[in-house]
Amino acid sequence: MTPAIETEGLTLRYGHFTAVGDVSLRVEAGARHALIGPNGAGKTSLVHALTGNVPATAGRIRVAGQDVTVLSQAERVRRGLARTFQINQLFRGLTVIENVSLAILERERKTRQFWRSFAADRAVAEEAREHLSFAHLEEMADRPVRSLPYGSQRLVEIAIALATRPRVLVLDEPAAGVPAAQSESIFERINALPRDLTLLFVEHDMGLVFRFAERITVLVGGRIMTEGTPAEIQADERVREVYLGRRGHHGAA
Protein backbone atom coordinates (compact mmCIF):
# COMPACT_ATOMS: atom_id res chain seq x y z
CA MET A 1 0.00 0.00 0.00
CA THR A 2 1.21 3.50 -0.80
CA PRO A 3 2.41 5.27 2.34
CA ALA A 4 0.60 8.46 3.36
CA ILE A 5 3.90 10.30 3.72
CA GLU A 6 7.26 9.24 2.40
CA THR A 7 10.40 11.32 2.54
CA GLU A 8 13.75 10.56 0.96
CA GLY A 9 16.86 12.22 2.32
CA LEU A 10 14.86 15.21 3.52
CA THR A 11 17.28 17.91 4.69
CA LEU A 12 16.71 21.38 6.05
CA ARG A 13 19.69 23.64 6.65
CA TYR A 14 19.84 27.12 8.05
CA GLY A 15 23.26 28.38 7.02
CA HIS A 16 25.72 25.86 8.45
CA PHE A 17 23.23 24.48 10.94
CA THR A 18 21.49 21.30 9.87
CA ALA A 19 18.07 21.25 11.53
CA VAL A 20 16.91 18.16 9.65
CA GLY A 21 19.50 15.85 8.17
CA ASP A 22 18.84 13.16 5.58
CA VAL A 23 15.52 12.02 7.02
CA SER A 24 13.83 9.15 5.22
CA LEU A 25 10.51 8.71 6.93
CA ARG A 26 7.59 6.48 6.01
CA VAL A 27 4.17 7.00 7.53
CA GLU A 28 1.64 4.33 6.58
CA ALA A 29 -1.88 5.28 5.52
CA GLY A 30 -4.17 5.43 8.53
CA ALA A 31 -1.22 5.38 10.94
CA ARG A 32 -1.07 6.88 14.41
CA HIS A 33 2.56 7.82 14.15
CA ALA A 34 4.46 9.76 16.80
CA LEU A 35 7.60 11.80 16.30
CA ILE A 36 9.64 12.12 19.48
CA GLY A 37 13.06 13.34 20.48
CA PRO A 38 14.77 15.59 22.98
CA ASN A 39 14.49 19.37 22.77
CA GLY A 40 16.19 20.72 19.67
CA ALA A 41 16.02 17.37 17.89
CA GLY A 42 14.46 19.07 14.86
CA LYS A 43 10.90 17.80 15.25
CA THR A 44 9.21 21.11 14.47
CA SER A 45 11.74 21.78 11.68
CA LEU A 46 10.80 18.44 10.16
CA VAL A 47 7.11 19.40 10.39
CA HIS A 48 7.89 22.74 8.68
CA ALA A 49 9.76 21.01 5.86
CA LEU A 50 7.11 18.33 5.42
CA THR A 51 4.22 20.76 5.20
CA GLY A 52 6.04 23.35 3.10
CA ASN A 53 6.13 26.02 5.75
CA VAL A 54 9.87 26.19 5.03
CA PRO A 55 11.24 24.90 1.72
CA ALA A 56 13.48 21.86 2.15
CA THR A 57 17.16 22.23 1.30
CA ALA A 58 17.34 18.76 -0.22
CA GLY A 59 15.41 15.51 -0.50
CA ARG A 60 12.00 14.51 -1.72
CA ILE A 61 8.55 14.41 -0.12
CA ARG A 62 5.66 12.33 -1.35
CA VAL A 63 2.10 12.49 -0.06
CA ALA A 64 0.02 9.44 -1.01
CA GLY A 65 2.58 8.65 -3.68
CA GLN A 66 2.46 12.12 -5.21
CA ASP A 67 5.63 14.20 -5.21
CA VAL A 68 4.94 17.49 -3.43
CA THR A 69 8.55 18.60 -2.88
CA VAL A 70 8.30 21.71 -5.02
CA LEU A 71 4.74 22.62 -4.06
CA SER A 72 3.90 25.53 -1.79
CA GLN A 73 2.34 25.01 1.59
CA ALA A 74 -1.10 26.02 0.30
CA GLU A 75 -0.84 23.58 -2.61
CA ARG A 76 0.12 20.77 -0.23
CA VAL A 77 -2.93 21.56 1.87
CA ARG A 78 -5.01 21.21 -1.29
CA ARG A 79 -3.51 17.76 -1.78
CA GLY A 80 -4.62 16.70 1.66
CA LEU A 81 -1.66 17.52 3.90
CA ALA A 82 -2.74 19.72 6.80
CA ARG A 83 -1.00 20.69 10.02
CA THR A 84 -1.51 22.34 13.37
CA PHE A 85 1.00 24.54 15.13
CA GLN A 86 2.89 24.13 18.38
CA ILE A 87 2.17 27.77 19.21
CA ASN A 88 -1.39 28.74 18.33
CA GLN A 89 -1.76 30.25 14.87
CA LEU A 90 -5.39 31.32 15.03
CA PHE A 91 -7.48 34.14 13.63
CA ARG A 92 -7.78 35.64 17.06
CA GLY A 93 -10.16 38.50 16.31
CA LEU A 94 -12.61 36.26 14.44
CA THR A 95 -15.19 34.06 16.10
CA VAL A 96 -14.65 30.33 16.49
CA ILE A 97 -17.10 29.49 13.74
CA GLU A 98 -15.55 32.10 11.44
CA ASN A 99 -12.14 30.47 11.97
CA VAL A 100 -13.47 27.11 10.86
CA SER A 101 -15.72 28.52 8.11
CA LEU A 102 -12.78 30.33 6.55
CA ALA A 103 -10.91 27.05 6.17
CA ILE A 104 -13.96 25.43 4.56
CA LEU A 105 -14.47 28.38 2.21
CA GLU A 106 -10.83 28.26 1.12
CA ARG A 107 -11.06 24.51 0.55
CA GLU A 108 -14.17 24.96 -1.58
CA ARG A 109 -12.53 27.91 -3.38
CA LYS A 110 -15.49 30.01 -2.38
CA THR A 111 -13.33 32.87 -1.13
CA ARG A 112 -13.46 34.28 -4.64
CA GLN A 113 -17.09 35.22 -4.02
CA PHE A 114 -17.71 38.75 -2.95
CA TRP A 115 -21.36 39.20 -3.87
CA ARG A 116 -22.96 37.06 -1.17
CA SER A 117 -22.81 36.83 2.58
CA PHE A 118 -20.58 34.05 3.90
CA ALA A 119 -22.84 33.65 6.91
CA ALA A 120 -25.76 32.85 4.61
CA ASP A 121 -23.97 29.83 3.13
CA ARG A 122 -25.91 27.03 4.84
CA ALA A 123 -23.71 24.18 3.65
CA VAL A 124 -20.59 25.86 5.03
CA ALA A 125 -22.27 26.79 8.32
CA GLU A 126 -23.52 23.24 8.80
CA GLU A 127 -20.16 21.69 8.11
CA ALA A 128 -18.49 24.21 10.41
CA ARG A 129 -20.91 23.22 13.19
CA GLU A 130 -19.99 19.58 12.64
CA HIS A 131 -16.29 20.29 13.12
CA LEU A 132 -17.05 22.37 16.20
CA SER A 133 -19.25 19.68 17.61
CA PHE A 134 -16.46 17.14 17.09
CA ALA A 135 -14.03 19.43 18.92
CA HIS A 136 -16.58 20.09 21.70
CA LEU A 137 -16.56 23.80 20.82
CA GLU A 138 -20.19 24.21 19.80
CA GLU A 139 -21.12 26.38 22.74
CA MET A 140 -18.29 28.79 22.00
CA ALA A 141 -19.06 29.09 18.28
CA ASP A 142 -19.86 32.79 18.31
CA ARG A 143 -17.16 33.95 20.69
CA PRO A 144 -13.98 35.62 19.42
CA VAL A 145 -11.16 33.09 19.61
CA ARG A 146 -9.02 35.39 21.72
CA SER A 147 -11.59 35.21 24.52
CA LEU A 148 -11.35 31.40 24.79
CA PRO A 149 -9.36 29.54 27.45
CA TYR A 150 -6.04 28.29 26.11
CA GLY A 151 -7.08 24.65 26.11
CA SER A 152 -10.10 25.44 23.94
CA GLN A 153 -7.90 27.46 21.60
CA ARG A 154 -5.79 24.33 21.10
CA LEU A 155 -8.95 22.55 19.96
CA VAL A 156 -9.70 25.39 17.53
CA GLU A 157 -6.25 24.71 16.04
CA ILE A 158 -7.34 21.16 15.32
CA ALA A 159 -10.84 22.13 14.13
CA ILE A 160 -9.37 24.53 11.55
CA ALA A 161 -7.04 21.84 10.25
CA LEU A 162 -9.92 19.35 10.02
CA ALA A 163 -11.93 21.85 8.00
CA THR A 164 -9.36 21.53 5.20
CA ARG A 165 -10.49 17.84 4.97
CA PRO A 166 -6.99 16.43 5.17
CA ARG A 167 -5.91 12.89 4.34
CA VAL A 168 -2.84 13.41 6.46
CA LEU A 169 -2.82 15.57 9.56
CA VAL A 170 0.46 16.62 11.15
CA LEU A 171 -0.02 17.74 14.75
CA ASP A 172 2.85 19.68 16.27
CA GLU A 173 2.53 19.19 20.03
CA PRO A 174 -1.26 19.45 20.04
CA ALA A 175 -1.39 19.75 23.83
CA ALA A 176 1.55 22.16 24.24
CA GLY A 177 1.05 24.68 27.02
CA VAL A 178 -2.05 22.97 28.37
CA PRO A 179 -2.42 21.54 31.90
CA ALA A 180 -2.19 17.73 32.11
CA ALA A 181 -5.90 17.18 32.73
CA GLN A 182 -6.80 19.08 29.57
CA SER A 183 -4.13 17.49 27.42
CA GLU A 184 -5.88 14.18 28.16
CA SER A 185 -9.09 15.50 26.66
CA ILE A 186 -7.30 16.94 23.66
CA PHE A 187 -5.73 13.55 22.95
CA GLU A 188 -9.07 11.88 23.54
CA ARG A 189 -10.43 14.01 20.67
CA ILE A 190 -7.43 13.19 18.48
CA ASN A 191 -7.98 9.52 19.18
CA ALA A 192 -11.60 9.90 18.09
CA LEU A 193 -10.57 11.07 14.61
CA PRO A 194 -11.62 8.76 11.76
CA ARG A 195 -9.24 5.84 11.21
CA ASP A 196 -8.71 6.62 7.52
CA LEU A 197 -7.14 9.94 8.49
CA THR A 198 -3.39 9.50 8.84
CA LEU A 199 -1.93 11.14 11.93
CA LEU A 200 1.66 12.17 12.48
CA PHE A 201 2.15 13.93 15.78
CA VAL A 202 4.94 15.46 17.78
CA GLU A 203 4.55 15.03 21.52
CA HIS A 204 6.71 15.46 24.60
CA ASP A 205 4.61 13.61 27.14
CA MET A 206 5.80 9.99 26.88
CA GLY A 207 2.71 8.71 28.66
CA LEU A 208 0.51 10.12 25.93
CA VAL A 209 2.85 8.91 23.19
CA PHE A 210 2.87 5.32 24.39
CA ARG A 211 -0.89 5.30 24.82
CA PHE A 212 -1.91 6.85 21.54
CA ALA A 213 0.88 6.05 19.07
CA GLU A 214 1.12 2.77 17.19
CA ARG A 215 4.42 3.62 15.63
CA ILE A 216 7.17 5.91 16.92
CA THR A 217 10.08 7.61 15.19
CA VAL A 218 12.86 8.95 17.40
CA LEU A 219 14.67 12.03 16.11
CA VAL A 220 18.01 13.08 17.59
CA GLY A 221 20.13 15.92 16.25
CA GLY A 222 17.94 16.26 13.18
CA ARG A 223 18.40 12.59 12.19
CA ILE A 224 16.28 9.50 12.67
CA MET A 225 17.86 7.42 15.45
CA THR A 226 15.40 4.60 15.39
CA GLU A 227 11.82 3.68 14.65
CA GLY A 228 9.47 1.04 15.98
CA THR A 229 6.39 0.07 17.92
CA PRO A 230 5.88 1.61 21.36
CA ALA A 231 7.10 -1.62 22.95
CA GLU A 232 10.28 -1.65 20.87
CA ILE A 233 10.98 1.99 21.59
CA GLN A 234 10.39 1.49 25.30
CA ALA A 235 12.85 -1.37 25.29
CA ASP A 236 15.50 0.44 23.27
CA GLU A 237 18.53 1.22 25.41
CA ARG A 238 19.75 4.11 23.24
CA VAL A 239 16.40 5.82 23.35
CA ARG A 240 16.36 5.42 27.10
CA GLU A 241 19.77 7.06 27.21
CA VAL A 242 19.11 10.11 25.05
CA TYR A 243 15.53 10.62 25.86
CA LEU A 244 13.82 8.65 28.57
CA GLY A 245 16.71 9.20 30.91
CA ARG A 246 15.80 12.85 30.93
CA ARG A 247 12.10 12.35 31.15
CA GLY A 248 11.78 14.38 34.32
CA HIS A 249 13.37 17.30 32.54
CA HIS A 250 10.78 17.21 29.75
CA GLY A 251 7.89 16.66 32.09
CA ALA A 252 8.79 19.92 33.77
CA ALA A 253 9.17 21.82 30.49
Binding site: Q73, V77, F91, R92, R116, I160
Partner: protein, 315 residues
Amino acid sequence: MRLIRIGAGLPLLLAAVASFFLFPEYLSLLNTLFILAIFALAYDLLQGHAGVVSLGHAVFFGMGAYTAAVLAAHGVTEPVVGLLAALLLSGLLALLLTRIVVVGNDLTRLLVTLGIGFLMLEAANQARWLTGGADGMSDFTMGPVLGLFRFDFAGETAFWYSLAALVLVYAFLWRLTTSPFGLALRGIRENVRRMPAIGAPVRRHLATAYTISGGIAGLAGALLAQTSNFASLDMLGFERSAEVMMMATLGGTGSIPGVVLGAVGFSYLKDALSAMSPKYWHLGIGLVLMLSVFVLRGGIAGGVSALLRRLRGWE
Protein backbone atom coordinates in the same frame (compact mmCIF):
# COMPACT_ATOMS: atom_id res chain seq x y z
CA MET B 1 -17.23 47.45 15.66
CA ARG B 2 -19.87 45.00 14.58
CA LEU B 3 -22.43 46.63 16.85
CA ILE B 4 -22.49 49.86 14.91
CA ARG B 5 -22.14 48.21 11.54
CA ILE B 6 -25.68 46.91 11.78
CA GLY B 7 -27.98 49.48 10.30
CA ALA B 8 -25.56 52.41 10.61
CA GLY B 9 -25.77 53.03 6.86
CA LEU B 10 -29.36 54.23 6.87
CA PRO B 11 -28.99 56.97 9.53
CA LEU B 12 -25.84 58.13 7.74
CA LEU B 13 -27.72 58.37 4.46
CA LEU B 14 -30.58 60.25 6.11
CA ALA B 15 -28.10 62.68 7.66
CA ALA B 16 -26.48 63.22 4.26
CA VAL B 17 -29.84 63.91 2.61
CA ALA B 18 -30.88 66.19 5.47
CA SER B 19 -27.67 68.18 5.09
CA PHE B 20 -28.81 69.14 1.58
CA PHE B 21 -31.72 71.04 3.10
CA LEU B 22 -29.98 72.18 6.27
CA PHE B 23 -26.81 73.59 4.72
CA PRO B 24 -27.70 74.77 1.21
CA GLU B 25 -24.74 77.15 1.16
CA TYR B 26 -22.26 74.36 1.82
CA LEU B 27 -23.15 71.93 -0.96
CA SER B 28 -19.73 72.00 -2.56
CA LEU B 29 -18.08 71.31 0.81
CA LEU B 30 -20.48 68.41 1.39
CA ASN B 31 -19.65 67.14 -2.09
CA THR B 32 -15.97 67.10 -1.12
CA LEU B 33 -16.81 65.21 2.08
CA PHE B 34 -18.61 62.48 0.14
CA ILE B 35 -15.64 62.13 -2.19
CA LEU B 36 -13.18 61.91 0.68
CA ALA B 37 -15.42 59.33 2.34
CA ILE B 38 -15.25 57.19 -0.82
CA PHE B 39 -11.48 57.54 -0.91
CA ALA B 40 -11.18 56.64 2.77
CA LEU B 41 -13.42 53.59 2.29
CA ALA B 42 -11.28 52.46 -0.64
CA TYR B 43 -8.13 52.82 1.44
CA ASP B 44 -9.58 51.10 4.47
CA LEU B 45 -10.40 47.98 2.48
CA LEU B 46 -6.64 47.46 2.65
CA GLN B 47 -5.75 48.76 6.09
CA GLY B 48 -8.88 47.90 8.05
CA HIS B 49 -9.91 44.65 6.41
CA ALA B 50 -6.80 43.04 4.95
CA GLY B 51 -4.46 44.68 7.47
CA VAL B 52 -2.14 46.02 4.76
CA VAL B 53 -0.88 49.57 5.03
CA SER B 54 -0.11 51.94 2.17
CA LEU B 55 1.39 55.40 2.15
CA GLY B 56 0.83 56.05 -1.50
CA HIS B 57 -2.84 55.56 -2.04
CA ALA B 58 -3.29 59.04 -3.50
CA VAL B 59 -1.56 57.65 -6.60
CA PHE B 60 -4.83 55.97 -7.54
CA PHE B 61 -6.90 58.98 -6.51
CA GLY B 62 -4.74 61.16 -8.77
CA MET B 63 -4.81 58.59 -11.56
CA GLY B 64 -8.61 58.75 -11.49
CA ALA B 65 -8.65 62.54 -11.36
CA TYR B 66 -6.34 62.88 -14.37
CA THR B 67 -8.16 60.16 -16.27
CA ALA B 68 -11.45 62.03 -15.91
CA ALA B 69 -9.86 65.39 -16.70
CA VAL B 70 -7.93 64.17 -19.74
CA LEU B 71 -10.97 62.37 -21.12
CA ALA B 72 -13.13 65.48 -20.70
CA ALA B 73 -10.46 67.66 -22.30
CA HIS B 74 -10.50 65.30 -25.29
CA GLY B 75 -14.23 65.46 -25.77
CA VAL B 76 -15.50 62.60 -23.59
CA THR B 77 -17.54 64.86 -21.35
CA GLU B 78 -20.21 62.47 -20.05
CA PRO B 79 -19.28 62.16 -16.34
CA VAL B 80 -20.36 58.54 -15.74
CA VAL B 81 -18.23 57.33 -18.66
CA GLY B 82 -15.31 59.26 -17.15
CA LEU B 83 -15.96 57.61 -13.76
CA LEU B 84 -15.97 54.13 -15.21
CA ALA B 85 -12.80 54.82 -17.18
CA ALA B 86 -11.12 56.13 -14.03
CA LEU B 87 -12.26 53.06 -12.08
CA LEU B 88 -10.83 50.71 -14.68
CA LEU B 89 -7.54 52.53 -15.27
CA SER B 90 -6.80 53.07 -11.59
CA GLY B 91 -7.72 49.45 -10.89
CA LEU B 92 -5.40 48.36 -13.68
CA LEU B 93 -2.58 50.49 -12.29
CA ALA B 94 -3.14 48.94 -8.86
CA LEU B 95 -3.10 45.46 -10.38
CA LEU B 96 0.21 46.21 -12.11
CA LEU B 97 1.68 47.46 -8.86
CA THR B 98 0.52 44.56 -6.66
CA ARG B 99 3.54 42.43 -7.42
CA ILE B 100 5.85 44.86 -5.66
CA VAL B 101 3.41 45.96 -2.97
CA VAL B 102 2.05 42.62 -1.83
CA VAL B 103 5.39 41.04 -1.05
CA GLY B 104 7.22 41.98 2.12
CA ASN B 105 5.99 43.28 5.44
CA ASP B 106 4.35 46.48 6.64
CA LEU B 107 7.58 48.47 6.79
CA THR B 108 8.68 47.55 3.27
CA ARG B 109 5.14 48.23 2.04
CA LEU B 110 5.16 51.69 3.58
CA LEU B 111 8.46 52.49 1.91
CA VAL B 112 7.53 50.98 -1.44
CA THR B 113 4.16 52.74 -1.59
CA LEU B 114 5.79 55.97 -0.49
CA GLY B 115 8.34 55.58 -3.28
CA ILE B 116 5.65 54.83 -5.86
CA GLY B 117 3.87 57.99 -4.72
CA PHE B 118 6.95 60.13 -5.33
CA LEU B 119 7.58 58.52 -8.71
CA MET B 120 4.03 59.08 -9.89
CA LEU B 121 4.03 62.66 -8.64
CA GLU B 122 7.19 63.40 -10.60
CA ALA B 123 5.86 61.58 -13.66
CA ALA B 124 2.67 63.67 -13.59
CA ASN B 125 4.76 66.79 -13.08
CA GLN B 126 6.99 66.03 -16.08
CA ALA B 127 4.17 65.03 -18.43
CA ARG B 128 3.04 68.63 -18.91
CA TRP B 129 1.62 67.90 -22.35
CA LEU B 130 -0.89 65.55 -20.75
CA THR B 131 -1.42 66.77 -17.20
CA GLY B 132 -0.57 70.46 -17.32
CA GLY B 133 2.29 69.84 -14.87
CA ALA B 134 2.39 72.05 -11.81
CA ASP B 135 -0.35 74.31 -13.18
CA GLY B 136 -2.87 71.50 -13.14
CA MET B 137 -5.69 70.99 -15.61
CA SER B 138 -8.79 73.14 -15.74
CA ASP B 139 -9.42 73.62 -19.44
CA PHE B 140 -12.24 71.11 -19.69
CA THR B 141 -15.99 71.24 -19.23
CA MET B 142 -18.12 68.37 -18.02
CA GLY B 143 -21.34 67.52 -19.82
CA PRO B 144 -24.57 66.74 -17.99
CA VAL B 145 -24.65 63.54 -15.91
CA LEU B 146 -26.19 60.79 -18.08
CA GLY B 147 -27.08 63.58 -20.50
CA LEU B 148 -29.74 64.79 -18.06
CA PHE B 149 -28.34 66.70 -15.08
CA ARG B 150 -26.15 69.68 -15.78
CA PHE B 151 -23.57 70.68 -13.14
CA ASP B 152 -24.83 73.93 -11.61
CA PHE B 153 -23.12 76.77 -9.81
CA ALA B 154 -24.73 75.98 -6.43
CA GLY B 155 -23.40 72.43 -6.59
CA GLU B 156 -26.75 70.65 -6.36
CA THR B 157 -26.02 68.18 -9.13
CA ALA B 158 -22.52 67.56 -7.79
CA PHE B 159 -24.01 66.87 -4.34
CA TRP B 160 -26.40 64.18 -5.56
CA TYR B 161 -23.92 62.78 -8.07
CA SER B 162 -21.22 62.20 -5.43
CA LEU B 163 -23.73 61.02 -2.83
CA ALA B 164 -25.07 58.44 -5.28
CA ALA B 165 -21.52 57.23 -5.88
CA LEU B 166 -20.87 57.06 -2.13
CA VAL B 167 -24.03 55.03 -1.54
CA LEU B 168 -23.05 52.56 -4.26
CA VAL B 169 -19.49 52.22 -2.97
CA TYR B 170 -20.72 51.87 0.61
CA ALA B 171 -23.18 49.13 -0.32
CA PHE B 172 -20.62 47.35 -2.49
CA LEU B 173 -17.96 47.36 0.20
CA TRP B 174 -20.42 46.36 2.89
CA ARG B 175 -21.39 43.35 0.80
CA LEU B 176 -17.78 42.58 -0.04
CA THR B 177 -16.56 42.69 3.55
CA THR B 178 -19.28 40.31 4.73
CA SER B 179 -18.63 37.90 1.84
CA PRO B 180 -16.35 34.86 1.79
CA PHE B 181 -13.71 37.04 0.14
CA GLY B 182 -14.10 39.62 2.91
CA LEU B 183 -13.67 36.89 5.51
CA ALA B 184 -10.48 35.78 3.77
CA LEU B 185 -9.17 39.35 3.94
CA ARG B 186 -9.86 39.45 7.66
CA GLY B 187 -8.09 36.12 7.92
CA ILE B 188 -5.01 37.72 6.36
CA ARG B 189 -5.29 40.61 8.81
CA GLU B 190 -5.68 38.34 11.82
CA ASN B 191 -2.99 35.81 10.96
CA VAL B 192 -1.23 35.85 7.64
CA ARG B 193 0.94 32.89 8.70
CA ARG B 194 -2.01 30.57 9.16
CA MET B 195 -3.56 31.36 5.81
CA PRO B 196 -1.30 29.16 3.65
CA ALA B 197 -1.84 26.37 6.18
CA ILE B 198 -5.53 26.33 5.23
CA GLY B 199 -4.69 26.38 1.54
CA ALA B 200 -5.36 30.08 1.01
CA PRO B 201 -3.86 31.92 -1.98
CA VAL B 202 -2.77 34.94 0.07
CA ARG B 203 -1.11 36.87 -2.75
CA ARG B 204 -4.08 36.42 -5.01
CA HIS B 205 -6.44 37.69 -2.31
CA LEU B 206 -4.24 40.72 -1.67
CA ALA B 207 -3.93 41.45 -5.37
CA THR B 208 -7.71 41.39 -5.73
CA ALA B 209 -8.18 43.65 -2.72
CA TYR B 210 -5.50 46.04 -3.94
CA THR B 211 -7.04 46.24 -7.40
CA ILE B 212 -10.54 46.92 -6.05
CA SER B 213 -9.19 49.47 -3.58
CA GLY B 214 -7.17 51.25 -6.26
CA GLY B 215 -10.13 51.31 -8.63
CA ILE B 216 -12.47 52.86 -6.08
CA ALA B 217 -9.82 55.39 -5.04
CA GLY B 218 -9.59 56.35 -8.72
CA LEU B 219 -13.34 56.75 -8.85
CA ALA B 220 -13.15 59.17 -5.94
CA GLY B 221 -10.42 61.16 -7.70
CA ALA B 222 -12.48 61.31 -10.88
CA LEU B 223 -15.46 62.63 -8.91
CA LEU B 224 -13.34 65.41 -7.47
CA ALA B 225 -11.88 66.39 -10.85
CA GLN B 226 -15.31 66.38 -12.48
CA THR B 227 -17.17 68.29 -9.78
CA SER B 228 -14.42 70.85 -9.15
CA ASN B 229 -13.46 71.10 -12.82
CA PHE B 230 -9.82 70.79 -11.84
CA ALA B 231 -7.10 68.17 -11.61
CA SER B 232 -3.78 68.96 -10.02
CA LEU B 233 -0.63 67.39 -8.61
CA ASP B 234 -1.77 67.67 -4.99
CA MET B 235 -4.42 65.07 -5.80
CA LEU B 236 -1.72 62.41 -5.92
CA GLY B 237 0.69 63.92 -3.43
CA PHE B 238 1.99 62.51 -0.19
CA GLU B 239 -0.20 64.75 1.95
CA ARG B 240 -3.36 63.27 0.48
CA SER B 241 -2.03 59.76 1.06
CA ALA B 242 -1.27 60.57 4.68
CA GLU B 243 -4.62 62.24 5.22
CA VAL B 244 -6.59 59.23 4.06
CA MET B 245 -4.72 57.11 6.58
CA MET B 246 -5.63 59.64 9.29
CA MET B 247 -9.29 59.63 8.25
CA ALA B 248 -9.45 55.85 8.53
CA THR B 249 -7.68 55.91 11.89
CA LEU B 250 -9.85 58.68 13.29
CA GLY B 251 -13.04 56.97 12.16
CA GLY B 252 -12.10 53.49 13.25
CA THR B 253 -10.26 51.34 10.75
CA GLY B 254 -12.19 48.22 9.79
CA SER B 255 -15.60 49.81 10.26
CA ILE B 256 -17.35 51.10 7.15
CA PRO B 257 -19.65 53.66 8.84
CA GLY B 258 -16.76 54.58 11.15
CA VAL B 259 -14.50 55.41 8.21
CA VAL B 260 -17.20 57.57 6.62
CA LEU B 261 -17.53 59.48 9.87
CA GLY B 262 -13.74 59.67 10.07
CA ALA B 263 -13.53 61.32 6.65
CA VAL B 264 -16.21 63.83 7.64
CA GLY B 265 -14.73 64.42 11.09
CA PHE B 266 -11.21 64.85 9.78
CA SER B 267 -12.26 67.36 7.13
CA TYR B 268 -14.33 69.29 9.64
CA LEU B 269 -11.44 69.37 12.11
CA LYS B 270 -8.97 70.44 9.47
CA ASP B 271 -11.31 73.23 8.44
CA ALA B 272 -12.17 74.39 11.97
CA LEU B 273 -8.59 74.17 13.24
CA SER B 274 -7.08 75.99 10.28
CA ALA B 275 -9.71 78.73 10.69
CA MET B 276 -8.72 79.01 14.34
CA SER B 277 -5.02 79.05 13.62
CA PRO B 278 -3.81 78.87 10.02
CA LYS B 279 -0.28 78.33 11.26
CA TYR B 280 -0.67 75.73 13.97
CA TRP B 281 -3.61 73.58 12.87
CA HIS B 282 -1.38 70.52 12.51
CA LEU B 283 -0.90 70.66 16.26
CA GLY B 284 -4.62 70.19 16.84
CA ILE B 285 -4.87 67.37 14.29
CA GLY B 286 -1.96 65.63 15.96
CA LEU B 287 -3.62 65.78 19.35
CA VAL B 288 -6.95 64.52 18.05
CA LEU B 289 -5.26 61.62 16.25
CA MET B 290 -3.47 60.57 19.42
CA LEU B 291 -6.68 60.84 21.38
CA SER B 292 -8.51 58.67 18.87
CA VAL B 293 -5.81 55.99 19.10
CA PHE B 294 -5.13 56.02 22.84
CA VAL B 295 -8.42 57.10 24.40
CA LEU B 296 -11.10 55.95 21.98
CA ARG B 297 -9.07 52.87 21.00
CA GLY B 298 -10.26 52.30 17.49
CA GLY B 299 -11.41 55.79 16.56
CA ILE B 300 -15.02 56.90 16.45
CA ALA B 301 -16.33 53.42 15.66
CA GLY B 302 -14.27 51.89 18.47
CA GLY B 303 -15.50 54.54 20.90
CA VAL B 304 -19.13 54.03 19.94
CA SER B 305 -19.04 50.26 20.19
CA ALA B 306 -17.22 50.46 23.55
CA LEU B 307 -19.95 52.82 24.73
CA LEU B 308 -22.69 50.51 23.48
CA ARG B 309 -21.09 47.53 25.20
CA ARG B 310 -20.91 49.46 28.44
CA LEU B 311 -24.55 50.53 28.14
CA ARG B 312 -25.59 46.94 27.67
CA GLY B 313 -23.49 45.93 30.62
CA TRP B 314 -21.19 43.65 28.62
CA GLU B 315 -18.12 44.99 30.33
